[in-house]
Chain length 166, copies 2
């Protein structure tokens, strides 16, 4: 049976910003990312879960070197000063399990979560697609998480991956 | 300049389930998706934003035909009856903007949000990666959203895409 998990990537250079209480009306998220794009910020993940009470949080990740500029740019927006606050965190890392056909193999995400949970690694954020399961955890767990996933999925850590992990 | 947006995909056959107030401790999300995997449920997107008060919501999408089975499976879990509730919705669709190198082109996500917002389409959920910006909107907006994105990104709707949209 063809293994569907191809590799594990670790990105330590990420920081996250959560914009809290974004009004759940058309145009809100466009305002936020329009400003970031104008400011030339490189955005990686964007995560927004469904609103339950008229507003929701929007979280995105940027390279750590873009964190201050992202915050300053957003603070200039009316919506930020009046209704939302910015919660930022540099002490995170992103781990991605990369494969193919993972949608029909929901077990891959479940197994990844199980492997991390078993090592007592708390999962802060999750964003998945057919080819990638991405989680954000505290940066202290980066190496342990990669090890747990490699062992659990029977992968050998390549030189290339070890390089990316540093 | 090479266009980096390649196409727009519409999936009308999705339903979403939000598990509310999932304890932000290791193993919680593993329990949820372990059960779903055991029940043979096909999961597409998984979205979890950062917790702010010790718990957070976890949302995932499944084909509409798997919705009832997913709900029944999760209701069997202790965590669901005691602390969390399940909020499900069939009336959604998922729209994905597919391209390459979109991480360094955060403007693509910003532009997609702007195009949708301008047509008064409310964005319920967002999950992005380097190659895909996915949003969940009310199913009534499916066709309008695809049209707005095609026009805004200068794409021609292919026969293949029209097929996928039905
Ligand atoms: C919360 C935010 O995504 C809002 N629903 C919008 O469409 O912009
Ligand atoms: C909320 C949930 O993801 C929890 N943090 C876990 O690791 O399982």
């Amino acid at each position: 049976q063809t293994p569907i998990v191809r590799g594990v990537a670790l990105d330590r250079n990420e920081a996250k910003i959560t914009v809290t209480n974004v009004a759940d009306i058309p145009g809100s998220i466009a305002t936020i990312f329009g400003k970031l794009a104008n400011d030339g910020v490189v955005v990686d993940m964007i995560i927004q879960n469904a609103s339950r009470n008229g507003s929701t949080d929007v979280t995105f990740t940027v390279p750590e070197q873009d964190l201050d500029r992202s915050i300053e740019g957003l603070q200039a927006l009316d919506l930020i000063s009046s209704t939302s606050e910015l919660i930022s965190d540099r002490a995170i890392c992103k781990i991605s399990i990369v494969g193919v056909g993972m949608r029909t193999h929901a077990g891959v995400a479940a197994k990844a979560f199980e492997l991390l949970g078993r090592d007592n690694i708390n999962i802060q954020m999750v964003s998945t697609s057919e080819i990638k399961v991405s989680v954000v955890v505290h940066e202290r767990y980066g190496e342990l998480a990669v090890r747990a996933l490699h062992e659990g999925f029977g992968l050998h850590q390549s030189a290339g991956e070890q390089q990316a992990a540093s």
